[in-house]
């Protein structure tokens, strides 16, 4: 589906990895379609998003961001010697992101929030389910299916930076309070090429592809639940 003259340097990946990528793209499109219907994000699409909505969103995101670095670290230790190359990548990823929540807290304060309130916040029901699922999967031997989770989380990072952040700035009139969201748009190309390499590395058969795709679907569903819970009660 491309007429892109810039894509001359072709990334070559195997047949199973290609099939995985096609399915993952569809999981992502489904996910974005569903996100457009989540109340807090619909406000953003409709141009009715207020400062208070942003604070509520951050309040609910923080716990997931902290837990996020935990499941990635946990999964690193679950890869055995046969997957030591994958383990190295995962460790690098965990190191990159494990203090992200500090930036999120600063944004919350810049948006008029109280630091103690966000630090003391409980995980919402969706965050609870998502965290439970990811920690369970990350604790199993060689959890290659978590590439599906990375796909969704990376995609969200890109969406937060290139879609949410601009809309939030515009609709709330806040200045310098979306650094966490924007930060996730950096090094996108780098992350993508690493993801292609990892897919190519682990997608050795259809069964692995199916596991990765299912994991992406579960994470997408639970992440949506987390965002739906933002405005529930």
């Amino acid at each position: 589906m491309s007429a892109n003259p810039e894509a001359l340097e072709r990334t070559v990946i195997g047949e199973h990895a290609q099939a995985a990528l096609r399915s993952l793209m569809q999981v992502w499109f489904d996910f974005e379609r569903e996100l457009a219907q989540v109340p807090i994000l619909r406000k953003l699409l409709d141009g009715r998003f207020a400062k208070e909505d942003y604070r509520t969103l951050l309040l609910n995101l923080r716990q997931q961001v902290i837990e996020g670095s935990r499941w990635i670290s946990r999964s690193a230790s679950s890869f055995d010697r046969d997957f030591s190359d994958v383990r190295s990548e995962v460790i690098g990823h965990a190191r990159d992101e494990h203090r992200d929540y500090e930036m999120l807290e600063k944004d919350f304060v810049a948006a008029g929030g109280d630091l103690d309130a966000i630090r003391g916040r409980e995980r919402n029901l969706g965050s609870e389910a998502l965290h439970g699922y990811l920690m369970y999967r990350a604790s199993r031997p060689n959890p290659v299916e978590l590439l599906g989770a990375m796909w969704i989380i990376e995609g969200l990072g890109e969406k937060m930076a290139n879609d949410w952040a601009g809309r939030i700035d515009e609709q709330t009139g806040l200045d310098g309070a979306t650094r966490f969201l924007k930060y996730h748009g950096e090094n996108d190309d780098d992350h993508l090429s690493k993801l292609y390499q990892l897919l190519d590395r682990v997608c050795v058969d259809e069964a692995t592809v199916a596991q990765i795709v299912k994991c992406a679907q579960v994470v997408a569903r639970l992440y949506r639940l987390q965002l739906e819970e933002v405005t529930r009660g």
């Binding site: 007429a3 892109n4 569809q26 379609r33 699409l45 409709d46």
Partner: protein, 371 residues
């Protein structure tokens, strides 16, 4: 039973208008040149277009008038006479009359007796819906032929006076001005028959996927600029008040355009999964969209995923003929078939992403030769 496109026609009113001449035709809002024009034109890449308006902002043709010229061109390349047409299936975004349907007016213009008529209502993808109704009627054996006409006269919405009546330059934002530099006028027609002529395009399938349940309005006419005002144009005491509130301006929520492209790719991936087409063996791709959207990361990703259609297979005449809404895909197909000597067996995928509220339509054709 099969349905074949046996002849095509197109009509573009008046001379080609280049980018520097647009405001001579559409006029200057508040007497001042647009500050956004250059940026928007650079993004959509359109170099010339046609308007059924003269320099005095007077309409020089009508929606059925242009449609009839395209239809006659198609019929002149066929063995079918106007009075032999059995079904007339028509599409336009905004006809001359609010009612009745466009097909009634098209029938009157062409003078076809006792014809079965069908009008589709929508924006860019409505022309493929009109082809689908025609093709299915023929496949069912209910009619032996159908004339499909798509015609657009959008320029009337872009006259400077429209913007001035809605508050002028002070209140006209990017979203309200975007389509002024994008859309223009024209018509296209396809003759669909149950038997192929010398060289015809068999309609293999037409499919569409709509996402209005999930996404908000992206391109529309009828609502106000105020997101909290749920009124549409007919809810105002007078049309003058509706116009003053901006409810008769055509708007595009440009931030949502990437999502429209994504949903278009989503549909294509579904069709690939179903085996409806194979991107590797497809011969030609005709897509109703500005090329700058194809420079996004998603297209690189499709390349990596082995789902891309090679660059040399893409054809468009959007940059010379303009974006004529639902007529575009017919005008594109007409010029493509006239300028390419296609062999039997060659395949064409037409793709029309409609930003309105996220509908993308696809039509797959295979060239056949009548033995």
């Amino acid at each position: 039973m099969n349905a074949y496109i046996t002849a095509t026609g197109a009509h573009l009113p008046g001379p080609p208008i280049n980018n520097d001449e647009i405001e001579n035709v559409l006029g200057l809002v508040d007497g001042k040149p647009s500050r956004l024009k250059k940026r928007i034109l650079k993004a959509n890449g359109i170099k010339t277009r046609h308007y059924a308006l003269n320099g005095g902002h007077e309409t020089t043709d009508s929606v059925p008038g242009m449609g009839a010229k395209a239809a006659r061109q198609a019929l002149s390349a066929s063995h079918v006479d106007t009075h032999d047409i059995r079904m007339l299936s028509c599409a336009t975004t905004q006809g001359d009359f609010v009612a009745p349907g466009f097909a009634s007016l098209m029938q009157a213009e062409l003078g076809i007796p006792r014809v079965e008529i069908h009008t589709t209502h929508g924006i860019c993808s409505s022309s493929l819906m009109a082809v689908k109704a025609a093709a299915n009627t023929i496949r069912l054996g209910e009619q032996p032929n159908a004339l499909v006409v798509a015609s657009e006269l959008a320029s009337r919405l872009f006259k400077h006076t429209r913007y001035e009546a809605a508050g002028g330059g002070k209140v006209i934002d990017f979203n309200a001005e975007f389509l002024r530099w994008m859309l223009s006028d024209g018509a296209g027609a396809l003759l669909v028959e149950s038997t192929p002529s010398t060289r015809s395009a068999r309609i293999d399938w037409i499919r569409s996927f709509s996402h209005a349940d999930a996404y908000p309005l992206c391109m529309s006419i009828g609502g106000t600029r105020d997101n909290d005002d749920a009124r549409t144009w007919q809810d105002f005491p007078t049309y003058a008040e509706a116009e003053a509130a901006g409810a008769l301006l055509i708007r595009q929520d440009v931030k949502l355009l990437d999502d429209v492209v994504k949903m278009g790719i989503d549909g294509a991936l579904r069709l690939i999964d179903e085996g409806a087409f194979n991107p590797a063996t497809l011969d030609h791709m005709l897509c109703h969209y500005s090329s700058h959207h194809f420079r996004s990361k998603i297209f690189e990703m499709l390349d990596v995923a082995g789902a891309s259609i090679a660059e040399h297979k893409w054809y468009t005449n959007l940059y010379e003929r303009g974006n004529t809404g639902c007529a575009s895909i017919f005008i594109m197909l007409d010029e493509f078939l006239r300028t390419h000597d296609l062999e039997p067996g060659e395949t064409i995928l037409c793709m029309v992403p409609e930003s309105g509220r996220f509908n993308t339509a696809y039509m797959h054709l295979t060239m056949v030769e009548n033995p």
